[in-house]
């Protein structure tokens, strides 16, 4: 599904390298997790994959289902099946959540040469999915993320993911700021989307989410590199001992 080879990324503005050769392959239907200390480059990886400006890719390749996505605009990557749930979802005054999501769904359909979803069908879909995530009608009507609590914003990210049905889902700390019940809702939302054709890259600091979303592979990112890869046990080890052992090991 996703093949990242020796990815090197610097900031465009300053001469600072953030990703220092990331190698990562996620097979179709698999759930991978990335953990790592603050500032190690996890969000940067998500942003670069989604096509955010301000970063310069100085080396390496990224393929999504065999297509080089680094040359694509963010909207093309989205239409190709990539989705990033933001660590800090953006508030957009004046743009209704519903309008936003319908525009997004139909823009992707159009880009893929599919028929647009009618207003009625869209409404039916979104209502059902919002209900499962306990997002009420009022939140759908409000401007995108405006006045949403931290947890509501995260649930809104999952709602978008659920409506857009991407192939490659990147979740950047979707669990942070969630209460225990909301975490379960989000995990259920993710698990409901798990199919053999859809992959996940879950960035998190905590083992707790992984109790609900069982990862196949766990990676540890330190200072712009994946320094260790293992099974679910690796996340447990981090939870119990922090990164000290791993850092010592790779040093």
């Amino acid at each position: 599904m996703l093949k990242i080879k020796n990815l090197l990324v610097s900031l465009e503005e300053e001469n600072k390298q953030i990703l220092k050769g990331v190698n990562l392959t996620v097979a179709a239907g698999k759930v991978h997790t990335i953990m790592g200390p603050n500032g190690s480059g996890k969000s940067t990886l998500g942003y670069v994959l989604a096509g955010k400006s301000g970063y310069e890719v100085t080396g390496g390749t990224v393929e999504l289902e065999g297509r080089n996505i680094l040359e694509m605009e963010p909207e093309e990557r989205a239409a190709a099946g990539l989705f990033l749930a933001f660590q800090y979802p953006v508030e957009i005054p004046g743009v209704g959540n519903m309008t936003f999501l319908r525009t997004a769904v139909n823009a992707q359909r159009k880009a893929r040469g599919e028929e647009e979803l009618s207003a009625a069908d869209f409404l039916k879909e979104i209502r059902a999915r919002a209900k499962a995530l306990k997002i009420d009608a009022d939140m759908l009507k409000r401007p995108v993320n405006m006045g949403f609590s931290g947890g509501e914003k995260k649930r809104n990210e999952i709602l978008q993911m659920s409506m857009l049905e991407p192939k490659m889902c990147i979740l950047d700390e979707t669990d942070s700021g969630l209460d225990v019940d909301a975490m379960k809702l989000v995990a259920e939302g993710v698990n409901a989307l798990r199919t053999s054709g859809r992959s996940f890259l879950v960035i998190t600091h905590y083992q707790r989410l992984l109790n609900h979303i069982k990862p196949d592979v766990v990676h540890i990112m330190v200072d712009g590199e994946i320094v260790k890869t293992g099974g679910p046990d690796l996340a447990l080890a981090v939870e119990n001992n922090g990164y000290a052992d791993i850092l010592a090991e790779v040093a």
Binding site: A50, V90, I92, G94, V95, A104, A107, P143
Partner: protein, 427 residues
Amino acid sequence: MARLKAKYDLAERLLASAPAGGAKWVHDARTAAAARLREMGAPHRRDEYWKYTDPSALTAATARAAVFEDPAETPPFAGLDRVRIVFVDGVYASDLSSDLSDADVVIEPLADAMEKDTHWANGLYGVLEARGQARVNRPLAALNTARAVEGFTIHVTGRARKPVSFVYIHRDATSDAMIHHVIRLEEGAEVTLLENGPVAARSNIVTEIDIPDTARFNHVRAQGRDHERLCATAIFARLGRESIFKSFTLTVNGKLTRNECVAELTGNDAIAHVAGASAGDGTYHHDDTVFITHDAVNCESRQVFKKVLRNGAAGVFQGKILVQPDAQKTDGYQISQGLLLDEDSIFQAKPELEIYADDVACSHGSTVGAIDEGMIFYLTSRGIPRREAQDMLTFAFLGEAVDEIEDETLADEIREKLAGWISRHSA
């Protein structure tokens, strides 16, 4: 002194051809207005309130030719049940207008009213305009009072069922229009005024509105589609106790537009809301100059002005809240914002507060900025093409001003026009 002399010479020249006819009260009003203009001189770039807007095209001897290309687009308010009053190049066209006797407000062409020895407009015509000159010179409005023969007098005695709608058609390439409306409501009366159309190659429109105790006046105006328009408008409103004045203007295109609004809150618990959404692409200069005076207790005023500018377009906002010593419990709010879609465009704002009462809540803010790249990334990362994302944000930005319109049907009319403009000017 040479410069100053030019200002007064120009005033003389502007006043050169006095209109014929008119009753004595009209003659008196014109003479007084001419004296005001002579006193203050014609507008000049050196004047405090013309610093950001060059008035010379508005006072040139003739109107620069402006061809209006009919875009064959349905004008706003077309589907509404309304009293339609049509002007062609600034001249009332009765054959194109509704039957005025059917309206539940008393509507009379200004020219007819001016021939009557006694008319209620005596005591209002030029009077609110003159009051509006107290703190800031408004020479074009004084000129208008001294020279206008076109326009309407409207007397509203109850709650008008249908809006009164001025439709300004532009046909002649060099038409130069001077229009003056006088509107008087009775206590508790209510009316909605709609205005749309390109007017003329150059136009000067003054509207005086007397809104006594508990009366309500709603105004929605769409200035659009004509790229070459030169236009100056001035609204003078006087508000009584518990009265409400709400005015919204959408401006798209036009070479030069200066919209002045002067509102005086003279009775307790009155409310004045003035808002504007403006969008310009290329040779576009748009100026909102607003002056709100609080002269009574517990009044509320609100100014919301938003402008989107691209390809060298210029936006100006000069907004003032004056709170007189006795105007305690004043709630005054003002926001002006410019969204620049490129680095060639410019937005200049001059917010002013002058407060003499101590128990007041007044706030003002002004921002100017480019489109937010963080928002663009969020939208595009969901699959929305950049151009569409930018249009959504542009629409949302101006939409906050459109939201000031109370009547949802009218707000939707404006939103439709705005969306049309944004999609035509998308890049």
